[in-house]
Symmetry: C2
Subunit: 440 residues, 2 copies
């Protein structure tokens, strides 16, 4: 019986990991074969490859292509117990996490990686009209609404009643908003061509609204401009310096840069503007930043609790640069992965009376896709855009996708989509979900 | 401009088809290129290959593998308009169908193919505890419940509390019930093996309950016995002559053949027992049979209305046999397809002053799969079971699956599943859908 397959003894330290996104999953892997018992808790049964979630929302990929059951992925890790459970609170004093069903799970070491959720900046009533994109359920909701909007327009008797169903507003010009807007334009102009008899889907309007002065603010200004030009070539209207001040069922109210107001009649809205840390952060009773993220130290610890780590989108972490300055760690998957690994390694190091060097974020650059053959890449020393960036984006995403088979599947789906313009997952699962037939 | 691509003139007769299952889809195809305008109405945007729906419910296939957008499938049929709309009533006198949104669509000729729904024999309160399997939404509900039951058991502290989550009851011993029970046993014994730490999924109990004296009543008695033996080899308990008299959240009450009562504690129940025709049948105001099906004549017409046809699971149709006797048409996909084709051809024949010969059902036999390498086939002159029947079943289903690409995809998924015992679609989309964490 070797160490790898031996059942861990109950006397080993118990590491609890909350959340199996990129941060939690990477932390879990570090403990493989280590003399600890690990319990990984997630509200869902799958790890989700979130960078491709917009492809599920836009019918390009099916859900299983980007999601894999956690316990299947980690079945060989004998010191790991995976529990599908909803953690509702963390009790630092008693060193336990509390589940929605009332159970409490004690820990010796805790890594919290519960991610982020949408933020509507205090306008929670906007949520039902402009859903966001964080989970597979969100993606199915959006997919049903996008596809049903075209279906609904086809059933209506005249152009005036059809128009609001053929207007799509994407709110937020970050990578998700840009991907959604570009793909929506592609669907309208290519995928659905020749399939309708009463409407011309190519006449659908896709509007991307960004409050700041440029889209893709994490990129260099020239690249933002390139991305805007590429989106416009795809048929997307890009409005920068334009704030959303109201969202209801029938449309969106905008405040333009010059302070004017504008009303857009649009049945379908997508929220890609704001995120906030998981509400679990508040139960830690420690200082949070404005986005509700936990302010952590150079080892991802919370103040006064070297046994509690917070990583990923839930944490406001800094990286110690070579010049001694501290830079915020961006809320992207490499940041979450590196922080998760750091926390896990620090736990193991401390068990041996050592310590890791302070966390340093390794920045591989920024990458955003816009649509068919269009993307922007900023690798620090080199920036490029267009088809080359799109190929690079494709390669990176397929490469990092979890599980060999998913990679093959996603690649096959994309090759098919590229040559045929078709999207194989154009399925509205809940017939009434996006249709709202009883309404005007 | 040739006849095939010309826009149909509004003076052409208007054929309305309600429902795009096997019957409605086949009828639609017959009208390709014919001098009619066709409007096809369906509540969903996709045609569903229902014989493989249980594979979606049991995580073997993703939804897009067995569902295709109707308007994409028929995009080349220029005389066809597809509308995603919910038909709520048929007005024979005014010759129009009414939609949920209040619109009325007039017809010259009408083919109603709205299918069937679950019947709980007057116990509609059973539905939430024992969902059935007719739509993709049903399949997702079942998938979430099946997978979440194992997840829930893993979170519980002792065998007594876990047991009800590891008991699965399938109600109804027809093809769907047999497929579900066999696949569930395979999941418990093979797919999930070695992935749990606290429970042994292989100890899950799968119970198949059938009210009559044998399962697969459409087959010969020897084949029912073979199917029962194959199920038992897979680990399924088969109970025949056993009626369900109660279903609640925590379990099922049975009445055994000798009149005794038995209570089974089981959190997960699947309803595969009863179907009833679409409630749309009642709005036709014509004689119905006990299952709510419309009694139609030898051309699928309702009494006194040669312009109204009902086909598929909604119709109680008979076949004129060679010996002059009439036999009921079984509620299987070949029956619906043949009846749909017959109705459409009869419409075209009557437009030319002719008539089709009375409907004769061509019976290709019966086929039911049980699980890995197990099936039964009855081709009339020949009966076989086991591995050969399973290979035959596989071939037939992949062959008939709509769309070349879906065939390749399904075949690849199955080849993978066969050699690895894995099921790629093990995704619980709504984390709380099947889990009910707040309950005991």
């Amino acid at each position: 019986m070797d160490a790898h397959t031996a059942k861990p003894s109950p006397e080993l330290p118990h590491v609890v990991i909350v959340g199996c996104g990129f941060g939690g999953l990477e932390a879990t892997k570090v403990f493989e074969g280590a003399p600890v018992r690990v319990t990984l808790l997630d509200r869902s049964n799958h790890h989700l490859f979130q960078p491709l979630l917009y492809q599920v929302a836009t019918a390009g990929l099916s859900a299983p292509a980007i999601a894999a059951p956690i316990r299947h992925m980690r079945r060989h890790q004998r010191n790991l117990t995976v529990l599908m459970a909803d953690v509702v609170a963390i009790d630092k004093a008693r060193r336990e996490v509390r589940l929605a069903d009332g159970q409490a799970i004690p820990y010796d070491q805790l890594i919290v990686a519960a991610g982020a959720t949408h933020s509507y900046f205090g306008n929670d009533q906007w949520q039902e009209h402009a859903p966001g994109l964080k989970t597979l359920a969100d993606a199915f909701t959006l997919r049903a609404r996008l596809l049903s909007a075209f279906e609904r327009a086809e059933t209506l008797p005249d152009d005036a009643s059809r128009a609001p169903w053929l207007n799509f507003v994407v709110i937020g010009g970050g990578p998700t908003g840009v991907e959604m807007a570009g793909t929506l334009a592609e669907i309208a102009r290519h995928t659905l061509r020749d399939e309708f008899r009463r409407i011309d889907p190519g006449r659908a309007q896709v509007l991307l609204v960004e409050g700041s002065e440029r889209i893709l603010a994490a990129f260099k200004p020239e690249q933002s401009a390139q991305a805007k030009a590429q989106l416009e070539r795809l048929g997307v209207q890009v409005r920068v310096g334009c704030r959303v001040v109201g969202i209801d069922e029938a449309g969106v109210d905008l405040q333009t840069a010059d302070g004017g107001r504008e009303r857009i009649a649009a049945r379908t809205k997508v929220w890609a503007a704001g995120v906030a840390a998981s509400p679990l952060a508040r139960t830690l009773d420690v200082p949070l930043d404005r986005a509700g993220r936990v302010i952590v130290d150079e080892h991802m610890n919370i103040p006064g609790h070297a046994e509690v780590y917070v990583v990923g989108d839930m944490a406001a972490a800094t990286s110690l640069e070579k010049d001694g300055t501290r830079k915020p760690v961006p809320g992207v998957s490499p940041g979450a992965k590196q922080a998760g690994r750091h926390a896990a390694r620090q736990i193991l190091a401390r068990m041996n009376g050592r310590a890791e060097p302070p966390f340093r974020y390794r920045d591989y650059g920024n990458l955003a896709t816009i649509g068919r053959k269009a993307a922007v890449a900023d690798l620090g020393s080199i920036q490029f855009s267009g088809f080359a960036a799109w190929l690079f984006w494709l390669f990176v995403h397929v490469y990092f996708l979890i599980g060999f088979r998913n990679r093959v599947r996603v690649f096959a789906d994309w090759a098919w989509a590229y040559f045929t313009f078709q999207r194989h997952a154009r399925i509205v699962v809940e017939p009434k979900g996006g249709l709202r037939q009883d309404e005007a």
